[in-house]
């Protein structure tokens, strides 16, 4: 058990940090610290340019195999990259769905042709991806997807019809991966397919969802006979569930350390305000600030255990608690920020409804405990998979 990084790792850290301070400058200065969760709708053009700059520097997809343009970076190096990226104020990555979800999925389940078609565009920061999983009737229960995919042998293409929801950056993306039912006779996990679908086509319509913040990070995406090639299915028709579940597994990982650096910035801001406005003298707030500090450090060491392979070589326990931990922590930080601000918390920056950064944090963190599996679903997962307790019975639908 070793807390410190090796000297070689620290040299790598220096490289990352040097490159970032050289490049995240000039025109890119304006996007530092922007575009994170709750802020994904801002500076999109600039962030697209930044994604390409990052790619040219060799800093996209560093965990991928060298054969596909990656650096085969170790877990430690990926941790370091994410930490330094966050520390430098690196903006929210428009390419992150492609890099962390599509890419690993294709590497694990894709055909050679699919890899050759799609991986380079992601690696180059030129082709952006979004996800098409949830549907209005299939939120926590992903297996209830009703979007249909029908193979049209005459045109050698799949025709996809249905509705997806909670898709971020849909209108900026070139492709979407879609979980759709290939066999309408089958239910639940069976008869699904995993499709790679171009966004820029007449069959795809996007409608932004306005949130309680007044902004719209998420979208509904409507598919009306949208088309993708016969070969643009990952795995066999009917095997979509396996691919989709594999993809969800990739969501956990080294990016958590970068996320925590953002959290630290937010907590630092709360502490700064508390010291400045005298909230730091309030005993109840002192306890909560200390708790927030402990909670964030806990996230860090939970992650490091997870990334180090766990006590027994498995990712399982630490990984299963991670979502529940961070989302609850972040939500509590949002409320703490308001209480530290005191009466000022209520004042907007300007009309009509321009929220300050911490107000945005407060409101948007209510989503954290919901998307990507609600806290209730997370507790089910922990109880059933980590503790071996009985599964919730399905109703008869």
């Amino acid at each position: 058990m070793q807390l410190r990084f090796t000297e070689a790792d620290e040299r790598f850290r220096g490289e990352v940090s040097d490159w970032l301070s050289d490049n995240l400058a000039g025109d890119f200065s304006s996007i530092r610290h922007r575009g994170g969760p709750g802020d994904e709708h801002v500076f999109v053009e600039e962030r697209k340019a930044w994604e390409k700059c990052l790619a040219e520097g060799g800093w996209t997809c560093i965990g991928w195999p060298e054969a596909w343009g990656g650096k085969d970076a170790t877990i430690e190096q990926q941790v370091i990259f994410n930490e330094e990226y966050a520390r430098a104020g690196g903006p929210g990555r428009v390419g992150h769905i492609g890099e962390t979800l599509t890419g690993p999925t294709l590497l694990a389940f894709g055909s050679e042709a699919q890899k050759q078609r799609y991986l380079p565009g992601i690696r180059a920061g030129k082709e952006l991806w979004c996800q098409g999983y949830s549907e209005p009737g299939a939120g926590s229960d992903l297996s209830a997807v009703r979007t249909r995919a029908i193979l049209d042998e005459s045109t050698q293409s799949w025709r996809i019809t249905g509705q997806k929801v909670w898709t971020s950056l849909a209108h900026e993306s070139d492709f979407v991966f879609v979980l759709a039912r290939t066999d309408p006779a089958q239910k639940a996990h069976k008869g699904l397919g995993f499709f790679l679908v171009p966004m820029n086509q007449p069959g795809v319509t996007i409608r932004p969802i306005t949130q309680l913040t007044g902004t719209a990070e998420f979208n509904e995406v409507f598919f009306d006979e949208a088309i993708c090639g016969k070969d643009d299915i990952v795995g066999e028709p009917g095997a979509g569930w396996k691919v989709a579940m594999g993809l969800l597994g990739f969501e956990r990982g080294v990016s958590t350390l970068g996320q925590q650096m953002l959290f630290q910035t937010e907590l630092d801001e709360v502490i700064r305000i508390a010291r400045e406005n005298g909230s730091s003298k309030n005993p109840a707030l002192r306890q909560r600030i200390a708790e927030a500090h402990i909670g964030l450090r806990t996230l860090r060491y939970n992650s490091l255990r997870m990334l180090s392979g766990g006590d027994d070589g498995s990712l399982s326990r630490e990984a299963m608690i991670y979502k529940l931990c961070w989302s609850s922590w972040h939500r509590n930080l949002g409320k703490l920020a308001m209480d530290v601000l005191g009466p000022e918390a209520e004042l907007l920056e300007s009309e009509p409804y321009n929220l300050g950064r911490l107000q945005s944090l407060f409101l948007f963190t209510r989503a954290d405990t919901i998307y990507g599996g609600t806290n209730q679903i997370q507790r089910n997962i922990i109880a059933e998979r980590a503790l071996g307790m009985p599964r919730e019975p399905r109703g008869e639908s």
Binding site: S134, D141, L212, M338, D339, P343, E344, L348, Y353, I370
Partner: protein
Amino acid sequence: MKFSFTDEQLMLKDSAEGFLAEHAGSGVVRHAMVSQSGIDEALWDKICTEMYWQAILVPEAWGGLGLGLVESVIVLEQIGRVLAPVPIAAGVQSVLALRTVAHHDLAQTLLTELAQGKLVALAHTAARPHWGAAGVEVVATETNDGFILNGEARFVASGHSADALLVVAQLDGDLGLFQVTPDQVGVTLSKTPTMDQTRPMGLLQLSKVTVAAAQCLAQSWRQHLDAVLNLSRILIGAEQVGCAQASLDQSVAYVSERVQFGRTIASYQAIKHKAADMMLKVESSRSLLYYAACVGDEALLGTASEEDLREAAAMLASSAGDAAFFCAGTGIQLHGGVGITEEYDIQLYFKRARSMEAYLGRPDQQREVLATMLLDGDDGHAA
């Protein structure tokens, strides 16, 4: 001892519930909250002319209904339940302030006007961060024939739309209470854009504002400010209970419709137990609300002490503040993804709950008030 509503009180509750269900739907709220005033004028007129709630606490001598705090919280609970965009809480607060100086001619005039539907708002603090006497930033200077007022009051409930303002000002080591109108020279009145759009607040800036001696309602008003704020906490408590109840109701309705894994999500124990915890908080706060309202009525009659009122208000503010925030926050969680969309109302209750929780002091600050009473005095009372 009869800790339940009289028949008249039950009728008042039912009529308020019925009236608001008919006239103050979500559309009305959403329309008003993006308007300049934040008020639905038609609804307010209808209330003032048909329901007469603005006059509930005004003594009959000045054209009011001469009812009490209990009746006021009955109405405000229903107002909070639908987030009705009307300035009733602000008006009732001013009535409470004016009742402390009811011997004064001007106070009687204002009470009469309040009963007729004129909006008078109380401007008492800049809240940086104190809500009480320590937060008063308007300063009054006595002149030969009156006073000059300078300074700023913030978070003036419905203040930007007020026809007249009651301004609390530092005066000779105590506090004075003055009447000011928006059209006086040196008075700037504006709306403060706030995160919660359903409870608009005003900013009052006074620059060398001359007020006549007759506009001074009191010169030693400090002792009364505490009482008025504690009574105001009871009014807010009523809105909080209503807000908590609505959050519970809307959440139970939603989870009863929503199906996941082939079952309504209302059938999951995790959901049911959250709803049970919400109800527990709603009912507990409601009990403290009715108690506090009874104490408030006794305080108005002079049969309850300052300490009794302070204690009742602090208990309620702590409990109802937590309840409203918990219920609205949990409500969002029970709504799942749609809970964070603009489309559903639960987020409006959430923002309202936060705004009300902070107004006049957070729950933890109220508990500290109680701790002082319980732990610091020689005999268990405040030092």
